[in-house]
Amino acid sequence: MAERSTDESDLRREDRIEIANEFSIVHVSKVHTPNGERLEIFSPRRNRLIRLDPLELESIACHDDESFLGSEIVAGLDRETEQRRDER
């Protein structure tokens, strides 16, 4: 499962790279857990983080649905705004 914990113990992080355009910016790094490795993606704007394992990354790479990203964006926007509303 994709890990969302920000528990930093036992994690070794390689130098991060930034991927940005005029619409967003993310920090990406490879992280080493005691027994394996993950790709960590962090959104500084939304203060959210995800750590994806190789199989998850493989399925993203192999996804051939053009609207994959589009539908994720919609779902992500809706989740975020619902969460904010719930928090109030």
Binding site: E18, A20, N21, E22, I25
Partner: protein
């Protein structure tokens, strides 16, 4: 996109204190150079250039913050050497350089001087802000060229000469109809 960034200093540079004799020597040189250009004394100006001068002003486009200031790595308004600058001056001296006859009235304002020495050379690097006001004929349209200069000065025969000029303009679309003047 370009690596020309708005750094205060780069790792190979050491800051020279403002107000020191070296600082003033550099500033005086640039002020004299500006006076020569504003006075249309182009032969004098050419005499202040090093034979190996690299003179450039990259084209700029608006980029998002993360992508940097947006200077092109290959596109230039000016990409000149001593010969091409000499040719430009020669052209102005003919009777047919209409763009600059009658000549523009210009006034160069230089401020924000920061002087550094450059590692492994004896060159002095000066960063300054430039505001170039220009008026032509009876036009009241404002023509400004604003930007930052990065100039390298090198001694030749006992005097400082300009060996490198990089002009980083604040414009993505130039508001002057031509660049018949030197930055």
């Amino acid at each position: 996109m370009s690596t020309e960034t708005e750094t205060a200093t780069r790792t190979e540079e050491a800051r020279i204190p403002s107000g020191s004799p070296e600082y003033w020597r550099c500033v005086d040189f640039l002020l004299d150079e500006a006076a020569a250009l504003d006075g249309n004394r182009f032969e004098d100006w050419l005499g202040m250039l090093h034979p190996e001068i690299d003179y450039r002003a990259p084209i700029r486009v608006t980029r998002e913050r993360a992508a940097g200031p947006g200077f092109s790595s290959e596109g230039y308004h000016f990409l000149e050497n001593r010969d091409s600058l000499q040719t430009r001056v020669d052209r102005l001296a003919t009777d047919f350089a209409w763009a600059e006859d009658p000549p523009s009235r210009t006034r160069r304002f230089l401020t924000n001087f920061r002087v550094c020495s450059v590692e492994e050379t004896d060159d002095l690097r000066v960063r300054s802000n430039m505001l170039l006001y220009r008026e032509r004929l009876d036009e009241t349209r404002q023509q400004l060229l604003v930007g930052k200069r990065e100039d390298d000065l090198r001694e030749l025969d006992g005097a400082l000469r300009l060996v490198r000029r990089l002009v980083l303009l604040d414009h993505s679309i130039l508001m002057t109809p031509n660049l018949g003047i030197f930055l």
